[in-house]
Symmetry: C2
Subunit: 406 residues, 2 copies
């Protein structure tokens, strides 16, 4: 990623030319907070999406999968407080009706409207409230409405997540902006992740979906272990072409520049999700190298990043490397314990599977006191490498684990 060409902007999805957004209180959430969001591109846009791989899928996922198949979308309507999952045929009818009403209000075809939802499972949407609120939502659309939309998709998030970047693509400025809502800490893959990205780039037919897939794989799929597993996870990208660049084709230099920008935005949003994990105070990169292959590196990194005992040790700033050994040993990655080396930032802690002689534990504890650092695990077997991000576990959870060193 050529970061020299990236210019971070304030704001999120409405930093993109031609993108309007809004977020209002429809009365879905008992708390009375914003719970209905709308994103609208003033011109038709290319669209691509990635959905949950959970076999139980929410009605909005079913309807949006169908609508995005044509590769075009101009609006995204999203609700929070009720996920419209396990609601049978009525749930699908409700999701369809939302796209139809939004289409009518914006004078676009219903199948150019995508729909998403997050919240309680098994409860029907309060459609009367939503029907009443949608006209008000359409009226709220504005070029400054990105933050309100980001707020209206929140559930356990403590703050809205926005990111926007300007890049050069073939000499022309292109903007990419997005919003996201997040993950609880304890079981990241059970909290719904929603992310909506927009750009003014002109993208050739068929070129947008691979860009999104790769960006999601390298961002959200590197922070949430067993990612895309909630019943409602949805990532959407729309590109409306207002930048008037030459259409970006798959395999071109331009699409690679654009992909780097998308990945920068999704990675920034993904890291925000980790940082906003319940009670999280640290953002830790778990980097594995020397694995037999790349897949093994990812397995090992995920096993460590997802270990509650490792995360508890990160919280307690306790260099309890035995927990890291246990995690990699139980992973699917090939491990020879006598070849494992572990370092925190640049400070070595373990060599040949044992605590390094003359280890500077005080220095390790200092590093563990930082808000961000990296744990590097060298398996000493090959050239495979990968990296995932994780956070620590909050004190309440730790209370159960930190008393006893396993």
């Amino acid at each position: 990623m050529a970061s020299a060409e990236l210019q971070w902007l304030d704001g999120g999805i409405t930093a993109v030319p031609g993108i309007l957004a809004g977020g209002i209180v429809a009365g879905i959430k008992p708390s009375g907070k914003k719970d209905l969001a709308l994103i609208y591109s003033s011109t038709p846009a290319r669209a691509a999406a990635v959905f949950t791989s959970n076999q139980v899928k929410g009605a909005p996922v079913l309807v949006s999968s169908e609508h995005v198949r044509g590769g075009q979308a101009q609006a995204i309507v999203a609700s929070s407080g009720c996920s419209n999952v396990c609601t049978g045929e009525q749930g699908v009818a409700d999701a369809r009706e939302m796209t139809r009403i939004v289409g009518d209000l914006l004078r676009i075809p219903a199948n150019h409207v995508l729909v998403a939802a997050t919240g309680v499972i098994g409860v029907p949407l309060p459609m009367n409230r939503i029907r009443a609120a949608l006209p008000k939502l359409a009226q709220s659309l504005s070029p400054q409405g990105g933050r309100a939309a980001a707020e209206a998709i929140m559930t356990t998030d403590t703050h809205p997540k926005e990111a926007a970047v300007r890049i050069e693509v073939g000499g022309r400025p292109v903007t990419i902006g997005g919003i996201a809502k997040g993950v609880a800490m304890l079981e990241p893959h059970l909290a719904t992740m929603l992310c909506f990205v927009a750009s003014d780039a002109t993208i050739a037919r068929g070129a947008l979906a691979p860009v999104l897939k790769r960006a999601v794989d390298r961002s959200f799929n590197r922070v949430t272990v067993d990612s895309d597993q909630s019943t409602s996870d949805t990532v959407v990208i729309i590109a409306n072409g207002l930048a008037e660049n030459t259409p970006l084709e798959t395999g071109s230099r331009g699409i690679r520049q654009f992909a780097a920008g998308v990945e920068a935005v999704t990675t920034k949003l993904a890291r925000m999700l980790v940082k906003d994990g319940e009670g999280a105070t640290k953002l830790v990169a778990v980097a594995v190298r020397g694995a037999a292959n790349g897949k093994d590196a990812l397995h090992a990194a995920r096993a460590v990043a997802n270990s509650p005992l490792v995360k508890a040790a990160i919280n307690g700033q306790d260099p309890n490397w035995g927990r890291i050994m246990v995690a990699i040993g139980k992973s699917q990655a090939k491990v020879d314990q006598a070849k494992v080396a572990i370092a925190f930032d640049d400070e070595p802690l373990v060599t040949r599977g044992m605590q390094k002689e003359g280890v500077r534990l005080e220095r390790i504890r200092e590093i563990m006191g930082l808000p961000e650092y990296q744990i590097t695990i060298d398996l000493g077997l090959g050239r495979g490498e990968d990296r995932v991000w994780t956070c620590d576990l909050s004190e309440e959870y730790v209370r159960l684990n930190s008393k006893y060193t396993t």
Copy 2:
């Protein structure tokens, strides 16, 4: 399992004729509690063992695997407080020395002594203390010492676990007794599980290992998801032949009767481990039927039993069935959400993937108030079925999850 033929006895491993045991304070644990256990059969015994499948293995596991290969053992020495894992060649030498000293003290070959340990990883055993304590430990052996041995292997366990049963095998009484130590709740597979079982049955060469493997698979592997993953997990069975029955051959009616007895003991001990999970107040069986095959049934049952959000709902007595749907949907089992039915004991809650019309939620909440109950999930796809046991999550952990209904 013909339970009519099972007679539960008081006590544990020393309920078996010819089995002596003892447990003392060697000074390994900082707490000053018992931390060194010895089990001894007054006559040579057949032996079999099942060890952790973690690729990182403790030195005692390496030495015991070697010693049990001959199929004979007469003593088991086990320490708690220090696991002797990730301790390199010195760790293996220490484990070997323990078997040699115990062999000398009991006048049996060192390779008829098995060794096990649980506790902190990466720290060498305090061998001076252990050398000093072993003669005292050998002197403490007694036919009443089973409880002391059960205490001496505890780590986070709140009480010792013992079980013993008398069965008839070919018309002769046979006794089977065991002790075990347990699992923390939050990440069961990261706490070491040790279980030692003894019997006075006479077993033919090669017939004991399959009995143990099956009993472990149907007991410990049904309570600890991703079981046998700690670096030190060890289950040993010895059978000394003092019952003077006709040697039990693989495939015989007698070995099936014996296997049922062993499974009864290991299942009782396994359920004790679940009940003693940190802060656990409930023992819940998760039964899956109607799966495409047996493997799918086990995948689905484990996914539910291991879901922190399901376990939090069990603690809060909250019929949050959406979390069960999410768990089975993300499992490797084939799921068609429109065919799923869920019941708590005999009370139906979900049919065709949705909340049953006229559901009696008050009755469900009553069942969830019981100390033990069963969640039955019918996938409606085939004839595969399986069952695992789980416990609830303690209040501190729940505080983070129970506020928000996913």
